[in-house]
Structure formats: C-alpha cells, structure tokens
C-alpha cells in the first residue's frame, strides 16, 4: 500500500505531511509524559523486528498464495499506540530511503495510511474496547482481525482519495475504490490472523509483555473520536479546498462585488507572480489548466530531447575523463 511520489500532487502531499506531523507531535508529547528511558531502545529494536517480520511470507490455507504483516496493531498492542506510531514512522522512513518503498513526498500519506489508522483508529476504536475487560484467545483474534481489517480498509480508501484528489490518474474514483477495497479486505484478514497468532503466542508464554502495552493508554474512546473528528474535518477541509471546482468563500464574495470570480490584474509584478503560482500550484483553479499538446508542440519535443541528450553526453564525457585521470594516476 506504499504510495509513490508520482501519484501525488505537491498540495495533497503537503496536507498529508501536516496531518501526520500533527499526530507525530502529539505522540512525542504523550511518550515524553511518562518517559521511561528503557523504552527508547525497545522501540528501536521493535521497529527492526517489524521490518524483519514483514519480509516473512505466510501461506494462506487453501489459496496457494501468501501474505505478510504490516505490524501497526501488533506494535500498538506491545508498546502502546503512541510509541507504536513513532516506531512505524521510523520503519516507513527507512523503507522509503533504503528500499525505495514509498516516496519522500508521499511519506506523509504513507504514515497516515499505514501507521495512523492502525496505531490510533484500529487500536483505540477496536482493539482496546474489545480487550479492555481482560484478554482471552477469542478476544485477541476478534480484536486483531477487526483492527487490521478496518485500518487497512481506511488506509486503502485514503490511497484512492489522495490519488484522485491529486488528479494524476485518469482512473475514475468508483473503479479505483472497487479495485482497492476488496483486495485490502483479504490482505487485512490475513494480517489480522497473523497478528492474532503472534499475540496469542505472547499471551500464552509471556503475558506481561501485553500488560506493558495496555498500561500505556489511559485514554478514553470519546477523546479519540473527538481527535479523529477534528483531524478528519481539518484534512477533509484542506483537501476539499484543493479539489473543489465550486467557487470558495473568497471567490464568491469577489464575484458578488465585481461580477467575476477573479480580480482583473493590471500586469507587471502581479502577472509574473501569477504565472509562477500557476506553475507551482499543480491544480490551477482546481484543474490541470490548458497545457497545449504534449507540452509545447514539436519544438518542445526536440528541445527536451536535446536537454536530455546533452546531459547524458556531458556525463559520458565526464566519465571518460575521470577514467583517464584514474588510469594516468595509476601509471604514475
């Protein structure tokens, strides 16, 4: 479910960075509140554990295929949701940098889609309420499967929303949703079952590890829902501002006064800045504008080919020069 940079517009990437950063800042605050120095190395090593565990494939009975775990709910059950969220951020950043799994601009989206829903929503709204009156095999299975399925469904839906609002893909929203949700329902179920299997093993052999995770969250469901609501409104509001094709409040007001939704410019600096803004906005006036054919016609094709060719030629010349220099240095 890792998103690539190419699927995003800078605006959507930026909004999701801001949302994920807000959740990270809150988590840092909560972890610091009851800071236990021992927890820092545990979080680090657990991050590496999830990283390694993600690489192991689990055969799905009767299907011939296999799946793997993502680890959000598992970490939240063992470390508590806030520490788990920070650990997931570290994992996603390393995956993005070292393995090119997810992009740098898309990191905010990936944190939100894969870490936030699992560590906060899946944990507080499902795992915690189900297991709050004590653990049992059945409760662990129910909580893990529901937690994983729901968080993956939300994550997959967010991928569709972020890609569609970015306006990069021509894939209609309904088709994209219809393709993503069922696949992630199956993935979520498998992940939930693997998570449950691991948690049951821990519960039967070293139950004190699950108690440590449970102690970390003196947090009411009501408070979580309030926070979720605020974030959803903030993110939804910011994204819909980017996406909406209807005039916003300011445009509407200008329209009422001048009869046009945009003020007329008087040239000069305004026009220059407007041109810069139009190019960086990506979604000028909520659409991709009227770029002409494939950029700027045939001369554009020739020009871009020239730039690329020139660069590669210079690089080759530079490489030959470096090799010669090295060879000369070796001789002398």
């Amino acid at each position: 479910m890792h998103m690539a940079d190419a699927l995003l517009s800078p605006s959507v990437g930026g909004v999701m960075y801001a949302a994920s950063a807000a959740a990270a800042v809150y988590s840092v605050k909560k972890v610091k509140e009851d800071f236990n120095p021992k927890k820092v190395p545990v979080m680090g090593v657990m991050g590496a554990f999830v990283f390694a565990a993600q690489m192991i494939n689990f055969s799905i009975p009767g299907t011939g295929s296999s799946g793997h775990i993502c680890g959000g709910i598992l970490l939240a059950a063992l470390l508590g949701p806030y520490a788990a969220f920070l650990t997931m951020i570290a994992i996603l950043l390393i995956q993005c940098l070292l393995f090119a799994d997810g992009g740098i601009l898309a990191l905010g989206c990936n944190i939100w889609n894969m870490a936030f829903y699992a560590c906060f929503f899946g944990y507080f709204c499902l795992y915690k309420p189900i297991t709050k009156n004590g653990l049992s095999r059945g409760k662990i299975i129910l909580a893990s499967v529901l937690g994983c399925v729901l968080s993956l469904q939300l994550g997959a839906f967010s991928v569709v929303l972020e890609t569609t609002i970015s306006g990069i893909s021509e894939l209609p929203f309904s088709v994209f949703v219809a393709a993503m949700q069922p696949i992630h329902l199956a993935i979520g179920t498998v992940e939930g079952l693997v998570t449950a299997a691991v948690l049951i093993f821990v519960f039967q052999t070293r139950p004190e590890l699950l108690d440590a995770g449970a102690k970390e969250n003196k947090f009411s469901l009501k408070k979580v829902l309030v926070i979720m609501g605020v974030i959803v409104v903030l993110v939804g509001g910011a994204l819909s501002l980017i996406a909406s094709s209807s005039p916003d409040g300011l445009e509407w007001s200008i329209g009422q006064v001048t009869g046009s939704e945009e003020l007329e410019s008087d040239g000069g600096v305004h026009d220059t800045l407007a041109s810069v803004q139009e190019k960086t906005a990506v979604l000028p006036d909520y659409s991709f504008g009227n770029e002409n054919v494939a950029g700027t016609s045939f001369s554009g094709v020739i020009g871009s080919g020239l730039v690329a060719g020139l660069c590669i030629l210079l690089a080759v010349i530079f490489g030959v020069y470096k090799k010669k220099k090295k060879a000369n240095a070796g001789k002398s």
Binding site: M46, S169, F288, G295, I302
Partner: protein
Amino acid sequence: MGKLSDAIYEVHFMDTIASKDSPVHRVHPLVKLIVTIAYIWFTVSFGKYDVTGLITMVVYPVALFSLSGVSFGHSIKKLRVILPFVILMGILNPFFNREPRFLLYGLTVTNGMVSGLTLFIKGVLTVLGAYLLIATTRIESVCYALNLLHVPEILVTQILLTYRYITVLLSEANHIFEAYSLRAPFQKGVHYKVWGSLIGQLLFRSIDRATGLYDSMVLRGYNGNFRHSRLSAVRWQDFAYLFVWGAVFAVLRFTSLASLLGGLFV
C-alpha cells in the same frame, strides 16, 4: 529466504556506497536533503500532459550520477519496487481518457496515453532523486539533518536505532526461516499452525536483545538523552550547490526551455 538475505545485502550495499567520497558525498546532508525535496516537489508539480517539460528534469539525476560515481545499474533495481503500481495506473490511463491530443504519423495520441507516460516518467525521476540522496548520504547524516530541522529527538533516535538493528534482526529472521525451510521443504511461506510461534520467537529474541542493549547503554552512561555526533558546518560550497540546483529547477519549471531550444532547430 531470498527476500531476507537480499534485504541484508541491500542495507550493507547502500551503507558502502554512501560512505564513498565524491564532490556530491561531501555536500552537507541538510543541503542535500533540501535539494532532494525541492527536486521531487518540482518534478511532481509538472502538469499531467507536460511530457517535454518533465523530460528536462532528467538533468539532476544525470549530473548527480556522473559527479558522485554512483552506479546507475543498481538504481534500476530500486525502481522495480514502486514502479509496478505506477505502471499499472499509467497503463489504465489510455482506457479512461480517450480524448485525442495530437496526431503522430497518422496515429492518434490520446490524453490518456500522454498522462500515462508522464506518470511513468515522474515515477522514475522521483525514485532516482530519493535514491541519489541515500546513495550519497549515510543514514546517520540524514538523521543529523533531521535534527537540524528540529525533528523531535526521540523520533530521530528511533530511526537511528531501527536502522542499526535492521541487519541484526534480518539475520535472526533469516536463521529462523532457513531452519524452518529445512524442516518444511517445498512449502510456500510459513504454515498457519506455526505463524504465532515463528514470529513470536523472533519477537522474544528482539525484546531480549533490546533489554541487553539498554543494559549496555546504561553501563556507558545513558540517562535517557542521546548525543548525536555533530558534522561540519555548512560551507560556501554547500550554499553554491543549493543555489545552483535551486536556480536550475526554477529555470526548468518556469521557462519552456525545451521549446526554446527546440525552436532553434525547427
């Protein structure tokens, strides 16, 4: 298991190439991080039909591969991780947007074809941009740059510790899985009856290792605060690097350089 040993090799390989010396390796990590983010930001900001403008952004990876001596061949391997999804999305574009855009030797090129191509180019360029950052900058230096950007200390420490322990736990997982494979040959994946115990054993080993790590840190004076090694200050060459690339990106994005150059010949 191939996947696990591949990942161990990959971490070691990236560590090795990032430790090499070149003009690009010597640039301050904060400056490289900013330039990389700017490059990706400018690249994805191109319109979905602006193929020619986007192609000019190839200047950055070509120049950096050349200056840093990083192998281009290895970066191709990185593309295979994220590109399948991007290609799938791009391939579907022509089916959903059949509006004709222009004629090419009698063949109608549709908006969907152009936007699919743009998506593919963006995918390649953004992955190469990120790859060049980590291929020329050690992860410790990236963490140092994050520190300078006031990313919370606890998060930076998490990244460092997770990174340091990845190879250790990948090896541990590899041993466990190899032992399992020897007892269950020709089996695809881990049987559902041992899902819990197999990962659970890895989990316990990880926790025991974390306890040992904590004890050894305490013996060396750890009191909850981390001290990161400080790198040299930003030099004038770093400012020049930042300025030059900033100017190049701005020119490529805000001017129709491709058309201007092409106009000289057409």
